[in-house]
């Protein structure tokens, strides 16, 4: 056991855990943020995606000791009132079905749009292929990312 101080959604949390414990379980069961999901445990499905300094990482395969000093963002941290352009686009296009993978999908999409304001379909394929959706919402995710990009660009020009 060891003590780690983590910056999650701009809040400081100190936990006393096994240094090898994946960040996922720390976020979910020690900090209590349940939006980040467990899907495979081996970085194959993306359900556990969170951001380190804006970059997507798979928290199921990232030992907590490596997360110290990073600015960690989870699904709960991307907006106060479910009004991030990605969330708006996701609602408008009614993307989720079961919804279990969607926190991870949204975090991967948010990371893409952070550095690419006009992603092509190929960019979306590249950024999103690490996230599995068993319900098959991919066509809507693709449309919603384009829609979110439009919303973000409109905001910037407005």
């Amino acid at each position: 056991m060891a003590s780690f101080t983590l910056n999650i959604n701009n809040q400081s949390h100190t936990v006393d855990v096994d240094p090898e414990m994946p960040l996922l379980w720390v976020i979910r069961d020690f900090i209590g943020l349940k939006g980040t999901k467990f899907g495979c445990g081996i970085a194959q499905c993306g359900a556990c995606t969170v951001h380190f300094d804006g970059q997507p990482i798979r928290s199921c395969s990232y030992p907590v000791q490596g997360a110290v000093g990073k600015k960690i963002t989870t699904i709960e941290g991307i907006s106060e009132n479910t009004d991030h352009p990605i969330q708006k686009a996701w609602i408008e296009l009614q993307v989720p079905q079961c919804g279990y993978c969607q926190s991870g999908q949204i975090m991967s999409a948010a990371a893409l749009l952070n550095h690419n304001h006009q992603p092509t379909d190929a960019d979306i394929d590249e950024a999103m292929s690490g996230n599995i959706c068993r319900c098959g919402t991919y066509p809507r995710i693709r449309r919603a990312i384009h829609k979110a990009a439009d919303l973000m660009n409109d905001k910037q020009t407005a």
Binding site: C98, Q102, C135
Partner: protein
């Protein structure tokens, strides 16, 4: 009588959490004839012999609660089922609180499957909503002393048209609760619908884009332990002994106990590591030393089993469906076609791994679970633990996918057993490896097809299914002397006008746990059936779509679907060289859908799926956008089953373990999808969740044939290695 009324009332208040005087309407089901009738339950009483389901309540405070007996696993019933009541009641869904039922004994049909949630409730729930509305209007008219005909209801208020005055449903709840339920409430005309038939936003979606939706895995109970279970890697093996010394040394591990998983007639013993956090439970599990007796099941492997199915195909089989005289007409046919098709075992792999939180306290059990049915959870757990059903309270959570996997409550039984055994609340969570390796699986089915052609027409047709059986793995009373209709699903109900047919079944025993998968056996038998129809079309030299229409001279839903597909897919427009299109349809218990798939040849032995057109036939549609969503999803799931990984066995062990070797279709592999809905207001309302799946694989393989001349008869196949 007085006493039992009070008990009902108390129970009911507990169910809904209602405090103030309220209008409460339920549907009573007479056990004898299962006919639902709307009842006023405001006093908590009703007629003897009826089981009451208090679906809607309106409190003085204005709170409107709708109980939803159906699970939400992505198929949209969190919106579509309450919408049936809300539409007629004259409220919007943001004016109501939707609560899942929790396994109460007086609530019927708390089970979700068979694409039936909307169609089975379409009229009863609308009637319920309309009854409540009429009572509220009558109450208002009485209060104002005006004719009922001058009043109307909208947005949870009753208005008096001439004067413009209004009363809220909350204000009317008490006087309305004292009225008789109308004998024949008037249902809305479809043209007046505000929600039904329209793309209405789902209430669960804002929760699901913000991390707020609570799935089974998210349950928290004070003092809760976490558990992971090591089960015999060879399914069917028995525990000999275990050594937990090292497991108990892992910091955080509290206990190691034996626990039983019950899957219908099968029981499997596992070793549970209980810890104060999940990671510790996993580390403890790795440190277990267990000796298993494989009971000979380590001899089981896919290669031999598949060969045994091929060998069994030589048997005549038991006749499941017969028309005319197949044998003599096939014998005398001018041209005979025969083909053998194979489909594999697959996993359901919902994104949320199996899990359940159970809290055993003083002989009562509280459960938090993602399950396809509160009553299935309740009944499975009650039976396994030998406790009364009423001692179990099931807190239904959003399901992170179901697809049939969450019908079986083996994981809830494990959690319940474990909580009872350690006398603490515990969250049991399967790993993805557990989920992939331990089953239950969709059964493999093999099919031997025969077709006789004379004078350019199909004169004889046979679909013989050779397979293990879901019913046999579930029921100890399985009758091998009868054809297993569930494993022949849909093979005898396609509307093609073929005069002589004989469909037969050959049963193959297996020790593996098997279960229903999205679209059940249609997910496997539609592929050989509709691929073989294509082979017969090729044999007659006809266009596959025209060939099908030629066997559909009478009006039928299938004929309408195929005609619509022809139009929307531009079937008659020739495709450029190197491209091909295929068509298939499938009608079965859940409904009817057809697909046209377009592929292009990218190499001699590789194709790319360009586009899928789907036409789903519904009769009546409740939420068209959600229907499209379901069909899109069914297509993606079918594409995974057709082109990704089979579940195979070697030395009794499942060879696939996680998403790296049990791959799922990903974003970059999804074709363009275009869904069309046929909803002509017919009297039969068909299902939505499953019908979009079965005909995708045959349409795809028929397209591959059109593009490459290569006939795919074994699934899965590799789009990049077609042989």
């Amino acid at each position: 009588m007085e006493q039992s009324t009070n008990i009902d009332r108390r129970k009911f208040l507990r169910i809904t959490g209602i405090t103030g005087t309220a209008l409460v309407l339920g549907i009573g089901f007479l056990e004898r004839d299962k006919i639902g009738k709307v009842f006023n339950m405001s006093g908590g009483d009703g007629e003897q012999g009826f089981a009451f389901t208090p679906y809607v309540s309106i409190e003085k405070s204005g709170t409107i609660t709708i109980l939803n007996p159906k699970s939400e696993m992505g198929q949209g019933t969190y919106q579509s089922v309450p919408a049936l009541i809300a539409e007629e009641l004259g409220v919007t869904l943001d004016q109501v609180t939707v609560k899942f039922t929790s396994g109460q004994l007086n609530i019927k049909d708390q089970a979700t499957g068979g694409s039936s949630s909307v169609n089975s409730n379409y009229l009863p729930f609308r009637t319920l909503g309309a009854s409540a509305k009429e009572m509220l209007i009558t109450a208002a008219a009485k209060q104002w002393n005006v004719p009922v005909g001058e009043c109307y209801a909208e947005d949870a208020k009753v208005y008096h048209k001439p004067s413009g005055k209004s009363l809220t449903y909350g204000e009317l709840a008490e006087p309305a609760s004292k009225l008789e339920v109308p004998k024949k409430p008037v249902l809305k005309d479809a043209k007046d619908f505000k929600m039904l038939g329209k793309a209405t936003p789902r209430l669960d979606i804002p929760l699901k884009v913000s991390g707020k939706a609570r799935f089974g895995i998210d349950a928290e109970v004070p003092g809760m332990m976490y558990a992971s279970i090591e089960r015999c890697p060879v399914i069917g093996g028995k525990l000999v002994s275990y050594d937990d010394k090292d497991a108990l040394k892992v910091k955080g591990v509290q206990q190691v106990v034996k626990v039983e998983r019950v899957f219908f007639k099968n029981k499997y013993t596992g070793i549970a590591v209980v810890a104060d956090n999940y990671w510790a439970a996993l580390q403890g599990r790795k440190a277990l030393k267990i000796q298993w007796d494989y009971q000979g099941f380590d001899k089981f492997n896919s290669k031999d089993y598949e060969q045994s199915l091929r060998d069994l195909s030589k048997q005549e089989g038991i006749v499941a469906h017969k028309e005319g005289d197949f044998d003599s007409n096939f014998g005398s046919a001018a041209h005979k076609v025969e083909a053998f098709y194979e489909t594999p075992f697959v996993t359901h792999s919902p994104m949320e791994p199996m899990n359940c939180t159970a809290d055993w306290k003083d002989g009562k059990l509280e459960i938090w679970v993602s399950s396809q049915g509160a009553e299935w959870t309740r009944d499975s757990v009650a039976e396994a633990l030998g406790i009364p059903k009423e001692s179990i309270h099931v807190n239904m959570q959003f399901n992170g996918g179901g697809f049939g996997r969450r019908i079986s409550q083996d994981y809830a039984v494990e959690a319940a057993n474990l909580s009872k055994s350690i006398n603490k609340p515990v969250k049991l969570l399967w790993t993805r490896e557990d989920d992939t390796e331990m089953g239950p699986f969709r059964p493999a089915t093999f099919s031997a097809m025969k077709g006789g052609i004379s004078g350019g027409k199909v004169v004889a047709f046979q679909h013989k299914v050779i397979s293990p059986s879901i019913n046999a793995t579930i029921s100890p009373k399985y009758d091998k002397t009868k054809a297993d209709d569930d494993m022949m699903e849909g093979t005898g109900s396609q509307p093609y006008e073929i005069p002589n047919m004989k469909n037969t079944y050959v049963f193959s025993d297996i020790h593996l746990p098997l279960t229903w998968w999205r679209s059940v056996t249609s997910s496997t038998v539609a592929f050989p059936h509709e691929s073989f129809i294509d082979e017969l079309a090729v044999a007659t030299g006809k266009d596959p779509l025209e060939f099908r229409l030629g066997m559909l001279t009478k009006p039928s839903d299938t004929k309408r679907v195929l005609t619509k597909l022809k139009e929307v897919s531009g079937w008659d427009k020739p495709l450029p060289a190197g491209k091909g299109r295929g068509i298939a349809q499938w009608v079965f218990f859940a409904g009817l859908c057809g697909h046209v798939v377009e592929v292009s040849k990218v190499k001699d032995d590789a194709v790319k799926v360009d586009k899928v057109y789907a036409v789903i036939d519904l009769g009546t549609v409740v939420n068209p956008d959600n229907v499209k969503s379901q069909v899109e999803g069914a297509i993606v799931m079918a594409l995974t089953a057709a082109t990704k990984d089979a579940i195979t066995f070697e030395k009794g062990k499942t060879e696939q373990t996680n998403f790296h070797n049990n791959r799922m279709v990903r974003m970059n592999e999804v074709p363009e999808i275009e869904v069309h809905i046929l909803a002509d207001g017919g009297p039969v309302i068909k299902g939505v969740g499953e019908p979009g799946l079965p005909s995708l694989a045959p349409a795809l393989c028929n397209a591959v044939y059109a593009a490459t001349g290569k006939r795919i008869r074994k699934l899965p196949f590799d789009l990049n290695k077609i042989s």
